[in-house]
């Protein structure tokens, strides 16, 4: 190791090489992380794991926990992947693209009319509330009022155990403020 290092540094005027550092042109370069030892406990809890690929085609991998227990991360068959490709490229047309000025009332009207929308999904609710927030931000209070009232009607029936309290509160706040500012 040392001889390899010496030859590597031959053109750089190496003055001396110590175990953890090397001196090049009168400057000591730290080759070891001097703080690493102080994190010995942390290191133990982050013991390195090498996953074992069980099936290279499906991506089935065996990982070993620090406790010694092993867990298999199930692979994905060709058919399953094909389904995902169809969903992603054919139905969704790739990742979600949101261009500047793309959130339009027309699109909101189409989406709110879509009965298949599952408002129990947070992502769906978040997307729909984005329209109301954009109008509120742009000080377009009449559209904000319309959109917020429609969303409130959709959200209230699915508010089980007050889980949507914050979302409902925000919609009511926008409705109240928009009404005041519209008049």
């Amino acid at each position: 190791m040392m001889s390899e290092l010496s030859s590597e540094f031959s053109s750089l005027a190496v003055a001396s090489i110590k175990a953890n550092s090397v001196i090049v042109n009168d400057k000591t370069i730290n080759l070891k992380d001097e703080h690493a030892d102080s994190h010995a406990n942390e290191r133990r809890s982050q013991a390195l794991q090498r996953p074992v690929t069980i099936d290279g085609n499906t991506g089935e991998v065996l990982v070993r926990k620090t406790t010694g227990k092993t867990r298999i991360r199930r692979g994905q068959s060709t058919e399953e992947y094909q389904e995902q490709l169809e969903q992603y490229f054919l139905q969704q047309k790739g990742p979600t693209r949101t261009e500047e000025n793309a959130l339009q009332k027309k699109e909101f009207d189409q989406l709110i009319a879509d009965e298949s929308f599952d408002y129990s999904l947070k992502q769906i609710r978040q997307k729909m509330v984005s329209y109301a927030q954009l109008y509120y931000y742009e000080r377009d209070y009449s559209n904000c009022l319309k959109v917020s009232e429609l969303l409130l009607q959709k959200f209230e029936p699915i508010n089980k155990k007050n889980k949507l309290l914050k979302e409902l509160d925000e919609l009511k706040h926008m409705i109240e403020k928009s009404k005041a500012r519209c008049t």
Binding site: M1, L5, V22, K27, I29, N30, L31, K32, D33, H35, A36, H39, E42, R43, S45, Q46, L48, Q49, R50, P51, T53, G56, N57, T58, G59, V61, V63, T66, R73, G75, Q76, E80, Y81, Q82, L85, Q87, Y88, F89, G94, T96, R97, T98, E99, E100, A102, Q123, Q126, S130, Y131, Q133, L134, Y136, Y137, E138, R139, E167, D169, E170, H173, K177
Partner: protein, 351 residues
């Protein structure tokens, strides 16, 4: 694998969006290293990426996306990756521990980005236990085989980067980098800390310099990452280490305009960030709130107002608060995004 679905081809790379070309030529064309906004878990979402791009950032990363989830789950894809036409040059960062998932992931993202980066630096325990993130720098054989599999399949049509941390013994990092170069990696980003070094400990810039001097393959660019909080830091790190690019991460979170020479977050960046957040939609409120907290703290806003910000319950209340406390401009208002100092309403205390 015979596919019924027609996979779109990789996005065409040219001088404007090829990250490798940008990294290799910025010194010549701009007299500085390439400036890169690195991946931040949860935070490098579209609105923040577009804000950074307004301030002299050459290349921007997405947060790490887990390949395993992305190729198997439509909801994960919806949550993890949104983009737009102006979101370029873009590197999609991936957390992965096997070749099959990486190849599938590459196939699904390359039409929509300008490069793919393998995360070999994440120190989060849960990822390391899965053999993802910084675990990969101790599993060079797997890492190099993943790089080789992508480059053998796609060659120069897909740019592939690895973002690594240094080892306790930097000679191990030299060996790993040489192997990565032999496997065909396009460039390597080096975070000058080991996987257990805390971010409060200064980055080991000497190690990065040493790597640049000792990696055999001088034609493969290196990017330095760690402790870049100002444009001066960027120049200093670039000058000292002789790397081709400098990546900022935490620094940009507080001040997205740092590469443009701003010493603290300009007010205009806050207006821009809120504008993009509203335009693109879908950013969870807690993320919006935390982004604004870090930026406003960086502007020097006093603590009582920061506390008020953290007590706001949702986006609508936040908008009201911004309007009440500050002259908060929208796009189209004269001076939108151009302000530097905090435009307090008259009744507010000056700092």
């Amino acid at each position: 694998m015979s596919l019924a679905v027609q996979i779109p081809p990789p996005k065409k790379l040219n001088k404007e969006n090829d990250p490798l070309h940008i990294i290799k030529t910025r010194r010549e064309t701009h007299n500085r290293p390439a400036t890169i906004a690195g991946p931040m878990v949860r935070y490098s979402k579209l609105a923040f990426r577009q804000t950074c791009r307004e301030y002299d950032v050459d290349i921007v990363y997405t947060p790490m996306i887990l390949a395993r989830e992305f190729v198997r789950n439509g909801h994960a894809r919806m949550a993890d990756f949104t983009t737009c036409d102006q979101d370029t040059p873009l590197i999609v960062q991936v957390g992965v521990n096997n070749i099959a998932d990486l190849l599938k992931f590459a196939e699904m993202v390359y039409p929509y980005c300008d490069g793919i980066g393998i995360n070999c630096g994440c120190p989060i325990r849960e990822q390391i236990r899965e053999g993802i993130g910084s675990a990969l720098i101790y599993n060079g054989e797997l890492l190099c085989s993943m790089v080789k599999a992508v480059k053998d399949k796609y060659g120069d049509s897909v740019r592939l980067e690895t973002k690594i941390r240094i080892h306790d013994d930097v000679e191990d990092t030299v060996k790993l980098c040489n192997s990565l170069c032999e496997a065909g990696v396009d460039w390597i980003t080096i975070h000058g800390r080991t996987r257990t070094t805390r971010s409060s400990v200064p980055v080991n810039i000497d190690a990065i310099k040493y790597l640049r001097e000792n990696i055999k393959y001088k034609n493969v660019p290196l990017v330095a990452n760690g402790d870049c909080f100002t444009l001066e830091d960027c120049h200093r790190i670039g000058e000292y280490t002789k790397v081709d690019g400098v990546m900022a991460v935490r620094g940009l979170l507080a001040n997205p305009a740092l590469f443009d020479g701003y010493q603290k977050c300009p007010w205009g960046a806050i207006e821009l960030f809120v504008h993009y957040t509203m335009q693109f939609g879908g950013l969870p409120y807690q993320l919006l709130q935390h982004h604004l907290y870090t930026m406003l703290e960086n502007t020097g806003l006093d603590k009582p107002l920061l506390r008020e910000l953290m007590e706001l319950k949702s986006t609508a209340y936040l908008i009201d608060w911004l309007d009440e406390k500050f002259d908060f401009k929208r796009k189209g208002d004269p001076g939108f995004s151009k302000g530097v100092e905090i435009p307090f309403r008259d009744s507010q205390p000056k700092i």
